[in-house]
Symmetry: C3
């Protein structure tokens, strides 16, 4: 198995765990867990593949991804009661999934020889859309839109690092590792230390 496929597998696994955790918060049954796990796990990568006209879509060509997502759902169904704060687990697992998925999306677009801006956008798309679908379908406040937290910014910074590193001659997987690292450090910093960008605050209109 090559490095790119490994990244895809890892991102599917971790995103599936977050999807199943959201299903546990909605008190679904085992099939509902599997449904949410699959939607979350393959959502972002599927949009990426459709946008790039990359067929078969990664999990249609290789259904192992689905088995991994379903296994993650089963695992969470039987163990989620063991953890103290499911929301904490959700947010932290999501930070790993985001970082890996951004690297996977960036790598896929790089391997197709896309231009820098498209590579960055595919990284952000792959990283952010699966979780966005999960949150919209389950009516949670999308992590993407949480006020005063870095999220899309982390994906953007990670994907940009990979593109720049590649321009400076860093070899494939190293660039993607850097991408995941940058993304995760920013996200973790935002969660732990409240790192954020200035948010829009309405001021009274002038005059």
């Amino acid at each position: 198995m090559n490095g790119l496929a490994l990244l895809d597998y890892a991102s599917v696994l971790v995103f599936a765990l977050t999807g199943a955790l959201v299903a546990s918060r909605a008190q679904l049954d085992l099939v509902g867990f599997a449904f949410m796990a699959c939607l979350t796990a393959v959502g972002g990568g599927t949009v990426r593949d459709l946008l790039l006209d990359r067929h078969p879509v990664f999990w249609v060509g290789q259904p192992d991804y689905i088995l991994i997502a379903v296994s993650a759902a089963v695992l969470v169904f039987f163990t989620a009661h063991l953890v103290e704060s499911r929301y904490n687990w959700l947010v932290w697992l999501d930070s790993f999934a985001l970082s890996i998925a951004v690297a996977a999306g960036t790598g896929a677009a790089l391997s197709l020889g896309q231009s820098g801006i498209i590579v960055v956008l595919m990284g952000v798309t792959t990283g952010c859309l699966g979780g966005l679908m999960r949150d919209v379908v389950c009516n949670e406040v999308p992590l993407v839109l949480k006020q005063g937290e870095l999220y899309v910014s982390c994906a953007l910074a990670g994907a940009l690092s990979a593109v720049l590193a590649t321009k400076f001659g860093l070899e494939g997987l190293l660039a993607l590792g850097l991408c995941a690292l940058v993304c995760w450090v920013l996200r973790a910093g935002s969660l732990l230390f409240g790192w954020q960008l200035p948010v829009y605050k309405a001021r009274p209109p002038r005059q």
Copy 2:
């Protein structure tokens, strides 16, 4: 017209009725009814066709589907006040639409020679995603996620039956009929007799 197309037409018709019923609950105008009917009716099959790179998408190649969905919207606009409980009609029509759409999606994937797991996933996708779009857009609680009811499970069981029946040599349309029957019986049983799978219930963490 062959059997597969007939299934697609039937699923479009019945899903369109449910979309229009949701539009009536949101008190839209006739064009709003048609919009929701079309979105619900072709949503699931469209995702299936995009995932399988099956072009033209079924309703782009054959716009009759749209005319059927619009007719269903007109019918509901002028008759919905005649029924006593629109929600009951919605849920029961949805159970028929689900069953037919799962069979249609399963049949389409079988006819493309996809592997068993992809056939099952396409059945579930075609069956569940149109209704999910309808509910997310209109801000109803998605039927897919209703706690303590079988829904995705019915789609899964139906699609699995079709795949198994085909493996044991049952001829095409019979296998799809079995698929629809299994799906509908489970859904009806869940609605009438409360059949369900155990749902996730948080227990206090151990220790």
Copy 3:
């Protein structure tokens, strides 16, 4: 640059402004503004291109669109506090974006030689889906579904005018100009004078 591309650019620009305004109502940071601007700006046209199997998707082939959307986001981030009612600006900018996007979608489908009904549907899809994604993701009441206002109807009437005008021999860009005009006049009339179609009202069931 030809007329069709110009329409796409204009619709991206104006829809991006509306996406950024919604981001300002959710008090996001600058990257959040850019994310919402891009989603809104390219959402409808992306669905159109995927449905018609038109690759590369318009903004994947020509990333300038993204730069325009991001610039619009930056502009709104630094100036939105200057206006008195952001909601008014949102609704009126959206009316322009809708009209231009319907014309762009109609033109794209016409240029591919699609049948009349598909041309109309692509106009409506391109016009309505970007704003719908914006509203669903940000949990605003979708403009598409606002009771007692014309919205999808305007898109439909505009796209129909273009198809009819083309049948009667009107040259390409003129037909698209007519399309945008019809759409915008209806939308503006609905906003200013309350033009609407009769909405569904439940009456007591007969007998």
